[in-house]
């Protein structure tokens, strides 16, 4: 008997025996959860910026399971704990189901017509009496590109105010500033594919293991296969990411710029600089934007010897030298960073200094080498950075200050170009300050929770309380819903279609597989219907499907650096996303920018490319910039009264303000409450024991919270995860912001801590 046949018979025999006791041995059948899911559809995870592909398993009209999408090149079937429970978020008990208007301090259920008419009337009143700039929009890196696009058109193009912001201002703005000033154009040159080619990873201000678990998983997998791969971490806190670290530098929070400079110093001194690359690809600039020579830059670095950097940052000079040598010696290197670098008063500069290391060593534009910023939200790159959802931007990486850009956009929007103001509107902090001052009288908040997520949050509650607040949300209650005058139930993930663009320039399509719960509606339609009621019928009635909106948007990206014109719905529905530029429907997408294979590079005239392997076409001469930025301290350094540096962040199991993950029993159970991490040495000194209730206090507020005595933060540093409104970390954080990117310094505040 042939073996195969025999194996089959044995299997049937075993299966039958098992079946007789009610156990199923056949895969897919043994599996209660998945046996039920009759159909699977590909989508994208709703949580972090990694952009994992997920499969939505549906039985009847219910989503019953989520699994990783095996065919997705980002995660190859793996997902993390948050993605795994996405289906449970859909059915959260805290879903907002009906439009509500607050009357006499209480929310009353109303019809959609009543709610929208009311908002339209109030907004028009404000617009008439106080002008368009008394209105504002505050969106989200979690909204779909289509949704942000509609809001952009309504506010910038029709109402005529550039007070149109989104929470990526609090998250990615410094990275944008860094890319623009260093490389000339926003967003990374490389992709996740570089991970498997990198010899060294520099993780700065990123707890990759918890905040981008699947990227971490790829790094670990790569290192496991190639034990010579090195991982170098710069972060004031030890995190689970440290399990794979080869060396970890612990700067005092906010003092790491000197460390990055000192690394550059050693790299040049010890001959690791790629002089050829520098000659042909790099300009040097001083902080005020003046061109300087390479020699002048080296002179500048003399101020940042490892010893001096040690005095500034607290990182031993020996470690800095070791780290610099590791970076220099590795043939390829990939840097990754997130909020530890971006959420700083010198966030743009910190970004510049990371780019410096890559430009000095030529570790860019080749497989395995890239300064690669990680995004926190699933569509911060797509919807807000590319879609132009900030007060100075227009769709397609355009700027409101550029007359040509305004014209191009106004034409497609079908609005008079004069509608679009040539001056940037109010950035997030200024916007909420204007709300406090009564200069902004009405705000539309979509898919985000600023009452909890703004730094020094309680400062901005005043404005939210006093002004007219419309909140479109999928969940209720949230910290922000307490302040809303009108609540509009928004369809959640899987109840709407649309596109998300993740960290690696990849745009991916998400299908609608469910009817929205209750009376919830898609945000883009809420905005469309509101716009029509406000008098913009002609401008908005043409949108009938999500695809209509997408097609109009991608037509605006044609010829732009982030060209998505070839990424039609038809293609996106089939493929696991496309990495822009995708200039035509037959273009496969672009792995590396500014170099061979990038359609814009390939099209350049030969004389420009001569002697160059990269051409940074966002810069006038195609050369990237190494910046000589001074090392500035944080806005609020520690002192005698507030001797601890407080830093905030995430845990693996929760996400942002917890409205989604805390609704999942498993995740709520995993980390049920907030805590403050304190080093055992500090705890001993203050007589604090593990699990004691302590008070953490800054100049802005105090918080009673449980102490976790653990050697994760360095002595002198405290850490609080920010997902709970009951233990609101942002009562303590500072609203000082980066003058360039306007991104606040969540990551450093001076604090004290004592037993309650």
């Amino acid at each position: 008997m042939p073996l195969k046949r025999r194996e089959f018979l044995k299997a049937s025999a075993a299966a039958a025996a098992a079946a007789s006791i009610g156990v199923n041995l056949i895969p897919g059948m043994d599996n209660k959860l998945f046996a039920d899911a009759v159909s699977w559809e590909k989508s994208v995870c709703r949580f972090c910026g990694t952009g994992c592909g997920v499969m939505i398993g549906k039985k009847g009209d219910k989503v019953v399971a989520i699994k990783g999408d095996l065919k997705n090149p980002i995660n190859k079937g793996h997902i993390c704990v948050k993605g795994f429970f996405l289906h449970k978020v859909i059915y959260a008990k805290t879903r907002l189901l009906y439009p509500m208007i607050k009357r006499n301090g209480k929310f009353e259920r109303v019809s959609w017509d009543e709610a929208l008419d009311y908002v339209a009337r109030r907004f028009n009143e404000i617009r008439k009496t106080d002008g368009p700039d008394a209105l504002a929009f505050y969106g989200s890196g979690q909204a779909e590109t289509e949704e942000t696009y509609m809001a952009n058109k309504l506010f910038k193009g029709c109402i005529g105010t550039n007070n149109m912001e989104g929470n990526p201002r609090l998250c990615m703005a410094s990275a944008v500033g860094g890319y623009l000033s260093s490389l000339g154009l926003d967003e990374p040159a490389g992709t996740y594919q570089d991970i498997e080619h990198a010899e060294l990873f520099l993780l700065v201000g990123s707890n990759t293991a918890e905040c981008h678990p699947i990227i971490f998983e790829r790094i670990v997998r790569h290192k496991t296969k190639n034990p010579t791969v090195k991982i170098l971490i710069i972060d004031p806190r030890k995190t689970p990411t440290d399990q794979v670290a080869d060396i970890h530098l612990f700067p005092k929070p906010g003092w790491d710029l000197a460390v990055l400079h000192a690394m550059a110093h050693v790299i040049i001194k010890e001959g690791y600089a790629d002089l050829d690359f520098i000659k042909n690809h790099v300009n040097f600039k001083s902080n005020d934007g003046k061109d300087i020579t390479f020699e002048a830059y080296q002179q500048f670095l003399e101020d940042y010897t490892p010893e001096k950097a040690e005095a500034i940052s607290g990182v031993p000079a020996g470690d800095i030298i070791k780290a610099a040598r590791m970076f220099g010696q590795a043939k390829t290197a990939m840097s990754m960073w997130t909020m530890g670098i971006n959420q700083r008063t010198r966030g743009v500069w910190a970004n510049n200094l990371i780019h410096n290391l890559h430009l000095l060593t030529g570790k860019i534009g080749v497989p395995g080498s890239d300064p690669f910023s990680l995004t926190g939200q699933p569509n911060a790159c797509g919807g807000v950075r590319e879609g132009g959802g900030l007060c100075h931007l227009l769709p397609g990486h355009r700027k409101v200050t550029n007359p040509k850009h305004r014209e191009e956009v106004a034409k497609v929007w079908g609005v008079p170009v004069g509608n679009i103001q040539p001056k940037p509107g109010k950035h997030t902090i200024a916007m909420f300050e204007a709300l406090n001052e009564g200069k902004i009288k009405g705000i539309y908040i979509m898919c985000t929770n600023p009452a909890q997520s703004l730094p020094y949050a309680q400062k901005f509650w005043k404005g939210l309380k006093e002004q007219f607040v419309v909140l479109a949300e999928s969940f209720y209650p949230t910290a922000t819903s307490d302040f809303a005058d009108v609540l509009l139930p928004a369809a959640f993930w899987a109840e709407k279609e649309g596109v998300y663009g993740c960290t690696e320039r990849r745009s991916q399509y998400m299908p609608q597989v469910l009817q929205p719960m209750g009376e919830a509606r898609w945000d883009a339609w809420i905005l469309r219907d509101l716009a029509m009621r406000m008098g913009f019928k002609k401008e908005f009635e043409k949108y009938r499907t999500a695809e209509d909106i997408w097609n109009e948007y991608i037509s605006l990206t044609k010829g732009r650096d982030m060209d998505l014109s070839g990424a039609t719905y038809a293609r996106l529905k089939k493929e696991r996303g496309l990495v822009w530029p995708v200039p035509s429907e037959t273009h496969p997408g672009t792995y590396k920018r500014y170099t061979q294979g990038d359609p814009f590079f390939d099209e350049l005239p030969e004389e420009k490319k001569k002697g160059r392997r990269m051409y940074f076409y966002g810069k006038p001469d195609g050369k990237a910039v190494v910046w000589a930025r001074p090392a500035k301290p944080p806005a609020e350094p520690t002192d005698k009264d507030f001797p601890y540096a407080l830093t905030t962040g995430r845990v693996l199991e929760h996400w942002h303000t917890g409205t989604m993950t805390r609704a999942v029993l498993e995740l709520a159970r995993a980390v049920p409450r907030a805590y403050v991490e304190i080093h055992p040495q500090d705890a001993r000194k203050l007589g604090i024991a593990n699990r004691d209730t302590v008070v953490v206090e800054t100049r802005r507020g105090k918080l009673e919270i449980e102490a976790r005595v653990i050697d994760r933060p360095e002595p002198g540093t405290l850490f609080i995860p920010w997902h709970w409104k009951e233990w609101l970390a942002n009562l303590l954080t500072i609203d000082a912001f980066d003058p360039g990117s306007k991104e606040p310094e969540y990551k450093v505040a001076a604090a004290r801590i004592y037993k309650a």
């Binding site: 018979l9 044995k10 049937s12 075993a14 025996a17 098992a18 007789s20 006791i21």
Partner: protein, 89 residues
Amino acid sequence: MPIAGVVVVTLPEKTSEVLQALKRLSQVTTYGVHKDNNIIAVLESESTSGLERLSNRISRSIEGVIGVFPAYINFEDEVPDQEPYPPVE
């Protein structure tokens, strides 16, 4: 060569020992423990009588076995060209 799919029910505290013992028998392939003390196994022998002997040997000589309960038998060699018997419901 006939094949039988069986459930070996064991005394709850002896399950793992029985499993080990079964794994040592060359004519037996195990498919894991289910519902605490049920071992799914496939027995192979030259003939149906051999199957029966094997089954008896298991229930008598391995300590902790409560019983061997077949659920499926295939004796294709003896009844050629016939589809395997459908699993018993």
